[in-house]
């Protein structure tokens, strides 16, 4: 086997492909070699020098991040020499660092803190004043705290190699070195600049949006999928006190690498809306009365009995499971018109990792809606098409109808809304308003533009009596046609194959960490 090499790292034998670096080989063996400048998606300049390790027979310590393992090499990451070197580098990194962890946003998720606890000295030996660089507004969302910077240059390399938009550079030399923007042109207007905050291992690059909003250890981090376009970047919803504080990319080598765009990153405030529909509302003459789920749904089943035909409008922010249930309800009621609306924006690819694009269609589950039989209504602004909402029964799931005016009145005997909010125009005309959760409050899946089905998990407690749409619609279907009620998102997912053959054979638990791609859509049947 000439393609692989075997080496020993801290006594463990590791077999890795030829050319693998010591740092990566060690990671495979479960050994974390401290590193700052190294980032798996960027070039390795080997300049922070914290990853120095000892290789038997090599006089000098070698940087693990750029040294390929040789066959038969014996590597010691914890030898006296390696530990002494690391301790020395830690001391150097800390002498000019302000050690202002109590007021630093990075505190709790800081590479400098972590390795200082593991490797550092108890006391500082610098008797002179620290170097002062100060802070700078880098433009866009990015704030630079120069004194905290350890000059790992990850941000510079991200802008050069991945964003391919060189807007940051190291200026000066020696210990006066600092990161800076070019003259008057900062990071403003860059779609990808937010990533430099993520990859900064210390508190030097900060998000203005997140500045002093929460401490890292108070955040609950929930894996999710970005709802803001049809690319489906894997993200984490970071939550404190049932409020989303920020979104962070979650690595997925098939979808978004380590990155996400700033459009997605900052589009989270709607998840924290306080004007939510919290109880089922049923019309009594001029008024909408709050009631219980059983009263509302029993009443609705009675009102639907004997009625057939109508139209349904859904939102492409609904999960596949929601959309599947909506489709089954539409079929049960013999609806003719099934639509969704989506706003568009310019598409922009990440030049250094062009698989990642901010997609034209700015909602997470457009593909899911299409596959499950909904067609697009309205224009590129995500508005219009409401004239199609007519018939004996009109059902609106998820779409807020923000563009309708208060005089909006569909030609319908019964108007049913299932959604997180009830906007003013809907309030005038709706007969049943049923409170639903957003994707952040439930478990489920989205289908992205390439047909990849990806899971997300609940991060927030839903307000009041809100329930996932699939559950609400599932109970309704049980009342109408005696269909079994799915007990979980997995159950609801399992039912999708009945609606769309593409989903047949897909199991919720088989989607894996990186999602699975649906087969090409079945030919449209006449």
């Amino acid at each position: 086997m000439s393609d692989t090499v075997r080496c020993t790292i801290d006594g463990l034998t590791v077999e890795v492909p030829k050319g693998t670096t010591i740092l990566e080989a060690a990671a495979r063996a479960g050994i974390d070699v401290p590193h700052y400048c190294y980032h798996p998606a960027l070039s390795a300049p080997a300049q922070c020098r914290i990853c120095l390790v000892e290789v038997e027979g090599v006089a000098k310590l070698v940087p693990a991040c750029v040294t390929a393992v040789a066959d038969g090499a014996v590597v010691r990451t914890e030898s006296d020499a390696a530990l002494a070197a690391r301790k020395g580098v830690m001391e150097f990194l800390l002498i000019n660092h302000p050690l202002d962890c109590p007021v630093c946003d990075q505190s709790g998720e800081c590479g400098l803190q972590d390795y200082a606890y593991e490797e550092g000295r108890k006391f500082g030996r610098l008797k002179e004043p620290k170097r002062v660089i100060g802070r700078d507004d880098f433009g866009g969302d990015v704030l630079f705290e120069g004194d905290r910077c350890i000059l790992c240059t990850r941000c510079v390399r991200f802008m050069r190699e991945i964003a391919r938009d060189e807007r940051l550079a190291v200026v000066q030399r020696g210990d006066r070195n600092t990161i800076d923007t070019f003259f008057d042109r900062g990071l403003e207007g860059s779609l990808w600049a937010g990533n430099v905050v993520d990859i900064c291992p210390v508190g030097a690059l900060l998000s203005k949006d997140f500045l002093h909003k929460a401490r890292a250890w108070d955040l609950d981090r929930v894996p999710s999928v970005c709802p803001s376009c049809s690319h489906g970047c894997n993200i984490r919803l970071e939550v404190r006190d049932n409020q989303v504080m920020r979104l962070k990319p979650r690595p997925n080598p098939e979808v978004n690498s380590y990155w996400m765009c700033d459009v997605g990153r900052f589009n989270y405030r709607w998840l924290n809306r306080q004007d939510r529909l919290e109880a089922p509302l049923v019309r009594q003459g001029e008024r909408l009365l709050a009631t219980t789920w059983s009263v509302a749904l029993n009443d609705l089943v009675e009102r639907l009995r004997g009625r057939r035909g109508g139209a349904m409008l859904v939102s492409p922010l609904l999960s596949n499971e929601d959309l599947g249930a909506a489709r089954r309800l539409a079929d049960a009621l013999g609806f003719q018109a099934l639509g969704f609306r989506v706003a568009e924006g310019p598409e922009e690819a990440l030049p250094g990792w062009s698989k990642l694009k901010l997609r034209r269609e700015r909602a997470a589950n457009v593909e899911g809606a299409r596959r499950l039989g909904f067609v697009r209504w309205g224009g590129a602004d995500g508005r219009g098409g409401l004239e199609r909402l007519q018939g004996p029964v009109v059902v609106i799931v998820g779409d807020e109808l923000g563009d309708a005016d208060v005089a909006w009145a569909p030609q319908a005997e019964l108007v049913i809304v299932v959604g997180p909010v009830l906007s003013a125009p809907l309030r005038q005309r709706v007969d049943f308003a049923l409170p639903a959760t957003t994707f952040a409050e439930m478990e489920g899946t989205f289908t992205n533009a390439e047909g990849r089905v990806q899971r997300f998990w609940p991060a927030l407690v839903p307000p009041g009596m809100a329930r996932p749409s699939w559950q609400i619609l599932g109970v309704l279907l049980a009342g109408l046609i005696g269909a079994p009620v799915p007990a979980s998102a997995a159950d609801a997912f399992a039912l999708l194959g009945d609606v769309c053959r593409d989903f047949a054979g897909f199991r919720y638990d088989d989607l894996g960490p990186w999602g699975r791609i649906l087969p090409q859509p079945a030919a449209i049947e006449a």
């Binding site: 300049q47 922070c48 750029v66 002498i95 000066q172 030399r173 006066r176």
Partner: protein, 430 residues
Amino acid sequence: MAYPYRHPDEVRLLSEYFGDPEARTLEGWRRRGGYRAWEKALGMDPAQIVEEVKKSGLRGRGGAGFPTGVKWSFMPQKPTKPHYLLCNADESEPGTFKDRELIRWTPHQVLEGCLLGAYAIRAQHCYIYIRGEYMEVAQILARAIEEVYEAGLAGENVLGSGVTVHLTLHLGAGAYICGEETGLMNSLEGRRGEPRVKPPYPAVAGYFGCPTTINNVETLANVPHIVLHGGEWYRQWGTEKSPGTKLFCVSGHVRRPGNYEMPLGYPFRKFVEEVCGGTPSGAPIKAVIPGGSSVPILAAEELDIGMDYESIAAAGSMLGAGSVIVMDARTNLVPPVRRMVEFYAHESCGQCTPCREGTAWAAKILRRIERGEGTEDDLQTLLDVSENMTGRTICVLSDSAAAPIVSSIQKFREDYLAYMRRPTLAGAGA
């Protein structure tokens, strides 16, 4: 024509025409035997030139002392990409001023070496990267390059031989680190002058990713003589492992500072005391830096060695670029060491943590000691900092800054203690 001072023990292979303005012109240089080696080489195979230089045992004069012929032999024999020769004229090491004199007085000697070196490694282009502060010298060299082109000795189809060698002069912008060979390549490519991680070595992927050799000015200036007279001839001077002659730039406490071309292996004490005339004050020698500010300092009692690579290495220092700085017994080593460390702190490119932080920190401690605010603990801190700066970085600038600190504390601890005994203002009751 008395170039500042000449000593009978000198062997003036390179420096024969120092002080002779006529030697600067192409015509004058040709009358003194110039470009005969180049004409001879055009009839030779490049491999023969490499072989001859290997035979001569010529070692790199920039500081590291790596055998030049061996370095050349690392270049691919069958070029698949363009090859480049980079002539390193970024002479910036404190105490070094030999390349300046070589170019100032014998620009054609250097250019002939460049042409021969380029031909030997199958390069069609040689860049001469000259220190930005060397304006006068750069103008002399630029004029010489024009003459060489006009005479058809460089460019396309040199003297009808079919050989192409271009010469381009490039001025640095004032950074010591651009004299480090990979930093020089980065600078020449238009990047930030930061040394690169090796491997890949320049002979594999150097200037713009192409096979590249970087040679010092003095190294290349030796080549015409070796090509003309043969490698064996060159070995008549020097020692077995350090053949030939070497320019030594002497500064500090000597009666006659300046450049001296000595056969390698010449007795060091005799060199300082006789050739350079000893100290002007008459005080005994206290310390000598044998190879530029980046090498460990030798105490006077360590001077009974030969001035060659191996003897100075055996004494725990380095011949370096042959930059001898002499200090007499009245000198306290702390201010010069502080000054040298400040230089490295200023010139560190700052990419590697130990160098960026270590050089600046050491300079701060040394300044504090000099102010009379140091304690003996600081000496231990300095030694620890130096240890953490040594062998831990991409290039050796960091090691260079540590060398004078460590050697001065080890050999001249008293000098530091003298600053610590000095009463502070508070201590004096002020």
